[in-house]
């Protein structure tokens, strides 16, 4: 069975032939498009290492069949920085030691991007922790991760206040 799909990945349209409907979005990103920033941890939707934004919303790419998302817009960790200029979340993860081994970090950052877009957590640390619970960190960098997300949330709130003032 030959199946053809098109995706917009990090702003670039990609037309892809897939030979097998079993290919997940995660495997397509890593094996076909060689975007290996998105990590395969559990491959069962439990660890969050494979988190990407699909049409602007965070999902586990290991539990998405690529064929089912023909036409979708995908943002991966490779599309987050602007050239050499880190996204504020990336910079905040460094400032706050939001990682140790770094394996979960792409998923953490994509999840945090999704969390901020959803706009439900605000600057409440408990809501940030709850909102990030789908991303496991075996090094236990959770406190740094929470601080990084809160810092970016706070600067966004301040930027918005300046804009509306």
């Amino acid at each position: 069975m030959n199946l053809s799909i098109s995706l917009t990945v990090n702003g670039v349209r990609r037309d892809i032939e897939i030979e097998d409907p079993r290919v997940t979005l995660l495997d397509l990103l890593r094996e076909r498009l060689h975007l290996t920033g998105t990590k395969k941890g559990c491959d069962r939707g439990q660890c969050g290492a494979c988190t990407v934004l699909l049409d602007g919303r965070r999902i586990n790419s290991c539990l998405a069949l690529a064929i089912s998302h023909d036409g979708a817009d995908v943002l991966t960790i490779e599309g987050v920085a602007r050239g050499d200029q880190l996204h504020p979340l990336q910079a905040a993860f460094i400032t706050h030691d939001g990682f140790q081994c770094g394996f979960c970090t792409p998923g953490q950052i994509m999840s945090a991007l999704g969390l901020i877009r959803e706009g439900q957590a605000g600057d409440d640390p408990e809501r940030v922790r709850e909102g990030m619970s789908g991303n496991l960190c075996r090094c236990g960098a959770y406190s740094g991760i929470t601080e990084a997300v809160l810092e970016v949330q706070k600067s966004l709130v301040e930027t918005n206040q300046r804009r509306s003032a």
Partner: protein
Amino acid sequence: MKTFDYIRPASIAEAVAAAAEPGANYLAGGTNLLDLMKGGIARPNRLVDVSRLPGLDRIERLPDGGVRIGALVRNADLAHDPDFAHCYPAIAEALLSGASAQLRNAATVGGNLLQRTRCGYFYDVASACNKREPGAGCDARDGENRLHAVLGWSEACIATHPSDFCVPLVALDAVVEIEGRTGRREVAVEALHCLPGDTPARESALEPGDLIVALRLPGEGSAFSAHQRYLKVRERTSYAFAIVSAAAALRIEQGTIREARLALGGVAAKPWRARAAEQMLQGARPTLDAYRRAAEAALAGAKPSGDNQFKIELAQRIVARALMLAAAGTPARVAALPASPFSTLTGTLIDA
């Protein structure tokens, strides 16, 4: 994962025809099905992808004050719909207490109703499981079973239904609209899931090809919106299935409970409506004593299926506490840790 044919029908009628074939499965969000397929527990020959069927992604207000939710509405979208969350706050809270944000963004209303049990022996294809393979036996009976059923179980199966969402749905008389080979029909969510009996492989009232197209909540359900809660005990604060949970909704007038709705999760193969307890509460004063008596009634007939005697008392306590919190009034905003009896912030232990 076993290979399969992939079909994306353009209409509901096409979908029903394609899925009526033996070995066919519907695919929507895929959050449960793909996991089961990767583990070899589900082995469909054909996936009928309904995720793009038109018209099934809307939340509509009905003339009777109720609401109709398309089967493809995402869990997160329903939970964060301001009008829905205002009318049915316990349902929104239950949705937000389930899974992770990523999964809630992908999982659909229809799929959540049909999610499979999380019994470890069902998931382990090397174990005997009557649900997965009728007649094979049940390794859970003599296995790790402290989280298994205490109500409605049989010798053939002691698995529980894992959904949070379904618990307040059952309490508030939700109905599913089903499109099948013989047309459209309606089934109460309470009658959708089956108890195991001798046929635990039969999990729902659905026939081959049946597609849940919508979920409906009757208008009178919103009469409980001022006093309803969902409370869930799990083994970690977030992103875990319920050990036990309870949805409680009360209509209180002049210091008296006029009407009560109560259902439990994590205790049986289906969300468990506790009608006898509801009747005891009707006309009662909202006191802890009344809640405790109702909780005892809700668990009447419960018996351990293994090392889970503790779940009976735990469920009683959660029922009493859910009733207490419902009587205290629905909070203006869902708690930071939805449905949790705990908080990670010091000094705010009773978060729920």
